[in-house]
Symmetry: C2
Subunit: 359 residues, 2 copies
DNA sequence: TTTCCTATTGACAACGCTGTCATCGCATGA
DNA sequence: TCATGCGATGACAGCGTTGTCAATAGGAAA
């Protein structure tokens, strides 16, 4: 306030401003002084520790309010084990997938007073484990969220264990003891979708597999097979193409499927991007969707609603999964060591599927 | 090494492992001891400070290597002004836009040894400025990157200035003195696209505006108008629809445009999502693209390649923009106070545009 | 030779918080 | 009445860095 005539009415607080008009941040000492207690008591209140009288508690809280005090993240992290920082590691799957995860994680983080630090890793990098190690030693994360295909990378997993950093794996391929994960039941979901197509009357159902490095790919394929089996339809290898979750790979697979002498009346692709590619190829083959060919995807990503006809797909609650992962990270391990969290999927029926042509 | 027979040959390092097999992190003291210098000298080497002899420098570096030491982010942030943490603030524009920005920012951060902390804000939130303030006081960010529509939010800008936090705005609507920004020339880009359509022979060109809160929206509209004017085509208000960057809004706008008695032969939408919607509506109206109707988008997002026909669009180097923003944040303000950084756009011609039908 | 500089290095105090342990006051039970 | 226990509080020492300032050595200048 020096050099200025302070004619402002006694403002909400007397947080000092320096000559630049920049707020000086209040520290725990300021709060303590204002509340007439020791800094330790302030710390107690802020961390909801027991053994503080209600009276002091309110007094401290109002001092906090007045000074708009927020504890310094760095100081906290340095002094205690808790760091309030969660890492989200990914290796560039589709934009919408990452964005969805991130959104869910952020929401939960905000509620809990945590922050999210994101990091891209290259799962093909030979120095992957070094990179992970560097990351966690440097920035003392409370825990990290692993997304596919990182969820199943031994290098990453080992590095994290070595460093003693907690982690949660999203949609991993394999279960690992003591490695918490959250996923949907991909097998069941793919089963449901296939069964739905069969229910429409389809018998020749093509399938485009996902990237072999992604755990979900295998599960989805199994689900497809089991539904066929259940309906007494014999499995035909030529109806199964290897895709890689990319639009491009979807096109190639679709070209082959639709060139078959007895072409399928329905194609189930392991994700929406590839399903969208099927749509494009169908147009090229002059096939009407869904009149001549039904197409189903997986993920319920933006793409599925942006193409025409809109895709029948399977919605997985990506945001909820990420939120759950954050919660698992935050909650102390003691609270019932629930290591596998499975969320519900949902079939989303749109215009790209219909009964097969009555030939 | 207590309680174990150390028969390993003198391994890369003697980083202690405790009984859980978890690496104890090396601190600057360990490095100092191993190199036979004081911690301050280690600090000097790590921060590339002058006045350290080459000999000690190498000695320290090899100790760092041996112990795979990485300085603790929190301690650094606490002790110095530099924090190595950059905030990316966004308010949920399209997934691909955010993902692109984030990717670019991450790459540059990694190179510079910085980390990225992401945060979602709600630009409609009346407590927005409080939220920003809380964020920056709490976590001592080196600087933040603002994405539209946050780039133009007075609440955010004021809160940041008040807190003395540096920021860079991505694609803001208005220039503000001393507020660094990075953008493309949206006006010119839209001009180019419109001119391209005119060049194909189109005279009735519909336009779908972007969200009015986004700065780029106005600039793109201006570019459209100026290109028309330049070609001597009179501006027709009924060919201009208000959109909001969403697929839904694109559909509504397209419905209206295509219902016009004299419908346009080309439609230029302010982003790809809306352009994709135009494609869908065109199909509903039984119009062939590009035979009966040309469609152009903006952004070169994934969507533009996933629809059929693929969209002619304008690529803006989103990743590069974010990377540039990071650089601007990191580089000291003294280094030539370059506050506006403008990157190049690029027209991407695909299958959704062609000469108008020869009626 | 002596003096002065400069390049190199180190000791030590922050930074803002939490953990540990000591202290105080008051109610309880013997 | 006095010891005992417990709830409430505070003093103080770190956490792992960087900033400040002092100390030392070796070379140039006088």
């Amino acid at each position: 306030m020096r050099g200025k005539i302070a004619n402002t009415p006694s403002a909400p607080a007397t947080t000092g401003k320096d000559s630049d008009g920049v707020h000086k941040k209040a520290s725990i000492h300021d709060v303590a002084e204002r509340a007439g207690v020791s800094i330790k008591t302030v710390s107690r209140v802020l961390n909801r520790e027991p053994n503080v009288s209600q009276a002091t508690r309110t007094r401290v809280m109002s001092a906090v309010e007045d000074l708009s005090y927020r504890p310094n993240l760095f100081a906290r992290g340095l002094a205690s084990v808790r760091s309030f920082l969660i890492g989200l590691l990914y290796d560039n799957p589709s934009a919408s997938y990452v964005a969805g995860l991130q959104f869910g994680a952020l929401g939960r983080c905000r509620n809990e007073g945590y922050h999210l630090i994101v990091e891209v890793l290259d799962s093909k990098d030979p120095n992957l484990s070094k990179a992970v190690q560097a990351l966690v030693t440097e920035s003392v994360l409370h825990g990290v969220i692993l997304t596919p295909p990182l969820s199943d990378s031994p290098a990453v997993l080992d590095a994290l264990r070595e460093a003693g950093t907690r982690f949660v794996r999203i949609a991993p391929a394999r279960h690992i003891a003591d490695a918490p994960e959250v996923s949907i039941d991909d097998r069941q979901a793919a089963h449901d979708m296939t069964a739905y197509l069969i229910g429409l009357g389809h018998r020749r159902i093509g399938f485009i597999k996902g990237h072999p490095d992604h755990g979900a790919s295998h599960a989805r394929f199994e689900g497809y097979c089991s539904a066929l089996k259940e309906a007494g339809i014999s499995f035909d290898e030529s109806y199964c193409m290897q895709g890689f979750f990319s639009y491009q790979s979807g096109m190639e697979a679709a070209e082959q499927l639709l060139s078959l002498p007895q072409r399928p009346t329905a194609i189930f692709a392991s994700n929406d991007d590839m399903a969208a590619a099927v749509l494009a190829v169908a147009q090229k083959f002059d096939l009407k969707v869904p009149g001549d060919l039904s197409v189903a995807g997986f993920d319920d990503s933006l793409v599925s609603q942006v193409v025409w006809p809109r895709l029948t797909t399977c919605r997985q609650p990506i945001s909820d999964m990420a939120a759950a992962a954050v919660s698992m990270l935050i909650q102390r391990p003691a609270d019932g060591a629930l290591t596998i969290r499975r969320l519900d999927h949902e079939l989303v029926i749109r215009e790209s599927t219909a009964p097969p042509p009555t030939a």
